[in-house]
């Protein structure tokens, strides 16, 4: 069988990409880009304004001294970087596709590996050009609309954020639209089958974003609690799926999504249980719809029950399924205090580490239920079915925890390092004086009493124990003496103290400045995140292209019912457990 289809499509896609790259580089698209990259453009204008002012002063000084005007280059802004990235990617892929497209037109393919793998490229180009449109166009457009509707006061919330109208959802929807409205062209059909391969690559790379040291901040009992809810949800979905007679692959993939955390878990479990594309989409849809409700309800309930930041963070991180929605609920509950968000995120990522156990469980469960009453040899199932790509996730996590990619103890590439604080980021004398003034005030009898009450009320805890005023004083002393944060623990303590009411504004700002100066971004992890986003965008568009309306109808409404029941039980159960125990052991 000859797979390669002679078509000018690949050349046309390549030329379109080269045109986009060229126009971007020449600045002809700056008008459109300024709308699409709103925040980067506003940053760019600030950089430009500052540069123009510096250039003017330098030129005037040179003129006064009868010297030639100085040659100065404007520093690269985020906007310039984004444009440069788009140009590079468009030119690289555009050039490659034009060359390969011309080769396909003149080549006489013979049956074999070369024909097979060359035939995949047009489909890859087809999905990639759609991924460009989604990530560079639709994603920012929806973000702008969501923001505009909120700013105009039409809605009090950002609909694009709440409904997750980002490249994940948009990618699947666009893929579905293409297959159901336009159909996939024959020359692209073979390449669409690469979607799952790219999704698996993305899941493996996900392991680089987390590190064990970050998780060590949780107490052992918290990990047990998360484990119970994760495994309990999976078990409950599997039980209900059997009762409601949903297909085994649908039940299994839904259980992973409901148990762990949305899209990544669904994607990771799907190949093991041979889930169909529409089952994956259905699961993602169920999780996202459920998450939207949670984002509205959780913060309201949290305030009604007068929950503290640690309690609410623990609840949101356990009860809400989708990572973005966990962050949304935590911020909605407390937009100013990062502690809620941090606790929620740590609880949330801990769930991901249960992924290998769940995949193994589902592999055994699926084989057992597909083969009816036949006895299943678990060892054989493990060897035959265990997905090697999940081992890849674990390997990446281990390497990440050892500090291979970024300093150990990072979370999504952000890490603490006192040694790397730049000279110009050290606290100024005025700031140190303000902090000293506050320290003296807090050390009085009244101050100690107020600080003790604040630390107890806010339940400020560190490594399993409640923070004492003496620890806060020591942290402040060290900050004043060194003009920078010395340890991550002290940074966490002082960031909590900085939220105290009545604290001097300069002192508060100094603590925040010192915390920011000691928190660094890893370029490598930032790059990995970018890769993961592209791999997921590509894979989900391809996945969407395998979902027909007919298949969705066949999936029926049972998964939504199961998802709703299990989601509610998980949310209520985790709320009760959090209210009963979290104060004591987080």
């Amino acid at each position: 069988m000859i797979y390669t289809i002679k078509s000018p499509a690949l050349v046309i896609i390549g030329i379109l990409m080269l045109i986009w790259g060229g126009l971007n580089k020449s600045g002809n698209l700056d008008g459109i880009q300024s709308y699409l990259q709103t925040s980067a453009y506003s940053d760019h204008m600030k950089v430009k304004e500052k540069f123009d002012a510096e250039l003017r002063v330098a030129t005037e000084m040179a003129a006064a001294e009868n010297k030639p005007a100085p040659e100065m280059k404007m520093p690269e802004s985020k906007f310039d970087q984004e444009k440069a990235t788009q140009t590079k990617m468009s030119n690289f892929f555009g050039g490659a596709f034009v060359l390969l497209g011309l080769f396909i037109l003149v080549w006489k393919p013979k049956q074999g590996n070369l024909d097979y793998f060359v035939s995949v490229v047009p489909g890859i180009a087809y999905i990639l050009v759609i991924a460009f449109i989604v990530r560079w166009g639709l994603d920012p457009i929806f973000a702008n609309w969501g923001n505009a509707v909120k700013t105009a006061g039409i809605l009090s919330w950002d609909f694009a954020k709440i409904f997750n109208l980002n490249y994940v959802v948009l990618g699947i929807v666009i893929g579905m639209l293409i297959v159901n409205v336009f159909k996939i062209p024959a020359w692209a059909a073979n390449g669409v089958r690469t979607a799952r391969f790219f999704l698996k690559t993305g899941v493996i790379l996900l392991g680089t974003l987390y590190s064990a040291a970050e998780l060590a901040q949780l107490g052992g009992l918290s990990v047990v609690m998360i484990g119970i809810f994760v495994l309990g949800s999976v078990g409950l979905v599997l039980f209900m799926g059997k009762r409601m007679k949903t297909p085994n692959s649908m039940t299994a993939v839904l259980s992973a999504g409901m148990g762990v955390c949305g899209v990544s878990a669904t994607v990771a479990a799907a190949p093991v249980v041979q889930a169909k594309a529409e089952e994956i989409a259905y699961t993602i849809g169920t999780i996202l719809i459920w998450g939207v409700g949670c984002m509205f309800l959780f913060p309201t309930i949290g305030h009604l029950l007068n929950m503290g930041p640690v309690q609410f963070g623990a609840w949101a991180g356990t009860g809400i399924l989708n990572s973005a929605q966990v962050a949304g609920a935590a911020l909605a509950f407390d937009p100013t205090n990062i502690e809620t968000l941090k606790v929620a995120e740590i609880f949330n990522i801990t769930r991901v580490l249960f992924l290998p156990i769940i995949v193994l469980w589902l592999a055994a469960w699926y084989v057992k239920h597909e083969e009816g009453a036949k006895k299943v040899n678990l060892a054989q199932v493990v060897i035959a079915k265990f997905p090697v790509f999940v081992l890849g996730f674990i390997a990446m996590f281990a390497l990440s925890s050892m500090g291979t990619f970024a300093p150990a103890g990072h979370y999504q590439g952000k890490y603490f390092s006192s040694a790397e604080v730049k000279e110009d980021k050290l606290l100024k004398d005025k700031e140190a004086r303000a902090l000293n003034g506050e320290l003296t005030r807090l050390r009085t009898a009244e101050g100690v009493q107020a600080l003790s009450k604040y630390l107890a009320d806010k339940n400020v805890v560190l490594e399993g124990h409640k923070v004492t005023p003496d620890e806060a004083f020591k942290a402040l002393d060290d900050l004043i003496a060194n003009k920078k944060m010395m340890t991550r623990q002290q940074s966490n303590i002082l960031m909590s103290v900085s939220k105290m009411s009545g604290l001097d504004a300069v002192a508060k700002g100094s603590i925040e400045k010192a915390e920011k100066a000691a928190t660094h971004d890893s370029k490598v992890i930032k790059e990995y995140r970018n890769w993961i986003a592209w791999l997921f965008a590509f894979g989900l568009i391809g996945l969407g292209m395998q979902i027909t309306g007919k298949a969705l109808k066949q999936a029926g409404g049972a998964p939504l019912v199961i998802g709703g029941i299990v989601g509610t039980l998980k949310a209520v159960g985790s709320l009760i457990v959090v209210l009963m125990f979290v104060k004591e052991f987080v």
């Binding site: 069988m1 097979y116 995949v120 297959v179 159909k183 996939i184 059909a189 073979n190 669409v192 089958r193 690469t194 979607a195 799952r196 391969f197 790219f198 698996k200 690559t201 493996i204 790379l205 680089t208 190949p271 594309a277 997905p387 090697v388 790509f389 081992l391 890849g392 990446m396 390497l399 291979t404 990619f405 370029k523 490598v524 790059e527 990995y528 890769w531 292209m545 395998q546 027909t548």
Partner: protein, 40 residues
């Protein structure tokens, strides 16, 4: 997607088996990870 007839792989994958796809993804992911490390 209309069910195309492929002699190799399945309608969801170009690889002959899941294990082959997993291993390829593993190699590709490690190539990205170490490639980025070297170039960044």
């Amino acid at each position: 997607m209309s069910e195309p007839k492929f002699e190799r792989g399945t309608s969801l994958s170009i690889f002959v088996s899941d294990r082959r796809e997993d291993l390829s993804a593993l190699i590709f992911a490690f190539a990205i990870a170490f490639g980025v490390m070297l170039l960044a």
